[in-house]
C-alpha cells in the first residue's frame, strides 16, 4: 500500500516504513537508546532526502523515548536531578554543535565531517563496548564475579569540586563531569543528527558509575527532551518535519519498543552490551565502506534549499 508523503514529496510503502519503525523500535527498547543512528541512514537509503530524514527521525525518537520514560518512571527507575543537570550541559553543547554545523556548511566540508565522525564515533564506541562486554563474559565464565560497580574505587573524576548528591543514582559526584558529558552529547548530537543515547549510556556507567537500573531511564529523559526541542526547531526553521512519515514510524516504533524492552530484560546485561556494540560497529563499518569504496556514480545532484 503506497502513501504519498506531503513534505518528503514522494510515495512510500506504508508497510515498509512501519516495519522499519518496528525494527528500530525493537532495538531501541532492547538497549534503551533512541535508535536515530539506525533510522536516519535507513530513511536516506529508501530515497528520503537527508534533511527531511534527520528532522523527522527526531519526532520518532521523541515518541519512543516518551513511552520508555513513562514505564521507567512507574518503576521509579530514573533520576530527574541527574537528567536535569545533563540537559543543561546538553543545551550548551547543542548550541556549540549547531554553530560548528553552520561553519562547516559554509566551508563546504559538512558531508565529509559527518561521514568521518560517524565512522570514528561508531567504530570506537562500538569496539570499546564489544571489548568490555567480551572480557566481562570471559571473566564470568572463568568463575570470577563480574564487577559492574566498584563502590570503593575512585578515579580522578571523584576528586573534582562542586560535589552533589544524586539520591536515585546513589552517587556523590562533582557536577563538572555531569555537565561535561551533557555538553559532549549535545555537541555530537547536533553535528551528527542523533540523540546520542548509545554514547550517553556507557558514559554514565563508566565515568559516573550510575547503576544500570537507573541509567536507561535517565538517558531517555535527556533523549526525549533534546529530540522534542529538535523537532520543534526543525519544524519552525526548516519546515522539513514530515508528520505523516513521523506518524507511521512512531506507531511502529512504540510497538517495537515494548517487545524490545521485554526481550532486553530476559538477556544478561553483558550479552546485551556485546550485541549493541556489534551493531554500532556494523553501522560504523557501513559508513566507512561508503567513504573507501568507489561510488557507483561519481556525480550527484541536489536541489538547493533556497529555491524552495
Amino acid at each position: 500500500m503506497e502513501i504519498y508523503l506531503p513534505i518528503a514529496d514522494l510515495p512510500v510503502n506504508v508497510f515498509l516504513i512501519f516495519g522499519m519503525g518496528l525494527t528500530v523500535g525493537f532495538v531501541s527498547g532492547m538497549f534503551g537508546i533512541g535508535g536515530g543512528f539506525l533510522m536516519t541512514p535507513l530513511l536516506i537509503f529508501i530515497g528520503i532526502s537527508p534533511a527531511v530524514a534527520v528532522a523527522t527521525v527526531a519526532s520518532h525518537i521523541a515518541a519512543s523515548s516518551f513511552s520508555g520514560v513513562l514505564s521507567y518512571w512507574r518503576r521509579r527507575a530514573l533520576d530527574f536531578s541527574l537528567a536535569g543537570l545533563l540537559l543543561i550541559g546538553g543545551l550548551i553543547g547543542t548550541f556549540g554543535g549547531v554553530s560548528l554545523f553552520t561553519l562547516l556548511r559554509r566551508v563546504g566540508q559538512l558531508d565529509i565531517t559527518i561521514g568521518l565522525s560517524y565512522v570514528i564515533m561508531l567504530c570506537s564506541v562500538g569496539g570499546l563496548m564489544c571489548w568490555e562486554s567480551i572480557s566481562s563474559i570471559l571473566r564470568a565464565r572463568s568463575g570470577q564475579r563480574a564487577e559492574l560497580r566498584r563502590p570503593g574505587s575512585h578515579t580522578w573524576i571523584h576528586g573534582l569540586p562542586f560535589k552533589m548528591r544524586f539520591k536515585k543514582s546513589r552517587i556523590y559526584v562533582s557536577i563538572i563531569p555531569v555537565l561535561g558529558i551533557g555538553l559532549i552529547i549535545g555537541f555530537i548530537g547536533a553535528i551528527m543528527g542523533i540523540g546520542g543515547g548509545f554514547l550517553l549510556v556507557p558514559m554514565l556507567i563508566y565515568f559516573l558509575r550510575v547503576p544500570t537500573s537507573v541509567v536507561i531511564g535517565t538517558s531517555m529523559v535527556l533523549t526525549l527532551t533534546t529530540m522534542a526541542i529538535a523537532t520543534l526547531l526543525h519544524a519552525a526553521t526548516n519546515h522539513l518535519v514530515d508528520a505523516v512519515l513521523a506518524m507511521i514510524l512512531m506507531v511502529g516504533g512504540v510497538i517495537g519498543a515494548q517487545f524490545g524492552a521485554q526481550a532486553g530484560q530476559k538477556m544478561p546485561a553483558d550479552r546485551l552490551r556485546l550485541l549493541l556494540g556489534a551493531m554500532v560497529v556494523a553501522v560504523g563499518v557501513r559508513f566507512a565502506l561508503d567513504l573507501v569504496l568507489p561510488p557507483t556514480d561519481q556525480f550527484s545532484i541536489r536541489t538547493m534549499e533556497t529555491s524552495k
Binding site: 504519498y4 565529509i112 561510488p295
Partner: protein
C-alpha cells in the same frame, strides 16, 4: 496639422500589424490536455497526461507537400540544483568540486514525432532549444552565469541524473500523428513530480521550418490532507512543530498504557 498627426498614428498602427499578417496565413495548432490540474493526494504514484489536438491548415492556402512534424516541450517550475563530483583524496571518496545550475526546469519533457535530425537543421535545433541537449541550462561559473559547451562533464552528468530520476524525458517518438492532422502525446509525470505550474510549448515544423506555435498549461497541486499538512508545515512552522511533538507524546503515552504490565 491634426490630419497629419492622425495619418502618422495610422501609419504606426499599420506598421505594428504588418509583421503579423503572414503568420495568420499559416497553419494553426489547436490542442488541449487531458487534465489541467494534476491533484496529488495520499495515493498519488505518478500520472500520465495526454496532450492531443489538430493541425488546422490555412483556409484557401494550397496543401503542403511535406508532412507535419511536432515538438512538445513541457517545462515544470524552476529550481536551482548543485551537481557535485566525488574524487579520491587520501584514500577516501569526497566531493571535490561542484557546479550550480541556476533556475533550470525541475521537470522537462521533450516529445517529438521523429528524431530531430530528420526534420530540422542543427542550427534551428539550437536556436529553438529542441531536445535536452539543446536546452539552455544556466550555470554559475565563477562570477558569471552562462551555459557551457554541450559536452561539459557536469552538464552531461546533470542531464543523465535528471533522466535517471524521470524528471527529464526525451522521447523522439512521443508525439503520434493519428491522421495527417490529428496528433496525440503522453506526458509521463513521476511520483515525485514537483508542485507548481507547467507550461507546454508546441511547435509545428514543415520542411525544416517552424511554421506554427501554440502553448498550453497545467498545474500540479497537492489537495486535501496532503495540501493541509504541507501548507501548515510551511506557514505555521511553530504550531506544526508543537502538533508533531504532542502527536509523538500522545503515541508514546498510549503505547505505554496499552502495553502496561504492572
Amino acid at each position: 496639422m491634426i490630419l497629419r498627426r492622425a495619418s502618422a498614428v495610422l501609419a504606426f498602427a499599420l506598421a505594428l500589424v504588418a509583421p503579423l499578417a503572414p503568420a495568420a496565413a499559416a497553419e494553426r495548432i489547436v490542442s488541449s490536455v487531458s487534465t489541467h490540474r494534476v491533484l496529488i493526494n495520499s495515493n498519488f504514484t505518478g500520472m500520465d497526461i495526454v496532450l492531443f489536438g489538430t493541425i488546422e491548415p490555412d483556409d484557401g492556402a494550397p496543401p503542403r507537400s511535406g508532412s507535419y512534424d511536432l515538438v512538445a516541450t513541457v517545462t515544470g517550475p524552476k529550481e536551482s540544483v548543485v551537481t557535485r563530483i566525488k574524487e579520491r583524496r587520501l584514500g577516501i571518496w569526497v566531493n571535490t568540486s561542484s557546479r550550480e545550475f541556476i533556475e533550470v526546469p525541475s521537470y522537462l519533457a521533450v516529445l517529438s514525432t521523429r528524431p530531430f535530425d530528420q526534420f530540422v537543421s542543427p542550427e534551428t535545433r539550437r536556436r529553438l532549444q529542441l531536445g535536452l541537449r539543446s536546452t539552455l541550462l544556466t550555470q554559475r561559473i565563477g562570477p558569471d552565469f552562462a551555459d557551457t559547451v554541450r559536452d561539459d562533464p557536469f552538464r552531461m552528468a546533470f542531464l543523465r541524473l535528471k533522466q535517471e530520476r524521470k524528471f527529464y524525458v526525451e522521447d523522439t517518438g512521443g508525439v503520434t500523428l493519428l491522421t495527417p492532422t490529428l496528433f496525440r502525446a503522453t506526458i509521463p509525470l513521476p511520483a515525485e513530480v514537483p508542485v507548481g505550474d507547467y507550461n507546454i510549448d508546441l511547435r509545428l515544423f514543415v520542411d525544416g521550418a517552424a511554421v506554427a506555435r501554440s502553448s498550453s498549461a497545467f498545474q500540479v497541486a497537492k489537495v486535501g490532507f496532503e495540501q493541509f499538512v504541507a501548507s501548515s508545515a510551511q506557514h505555521h512552522g511553530v504550531l506544526y512543530g508543537l502538533a508533531t511533538v504532542s502527536l509523538a507524546l500522545m503515541t508514546g503515552w498510549i503505547a505505554s498504557i496499552m502495553f502496561r504490565r504492572d
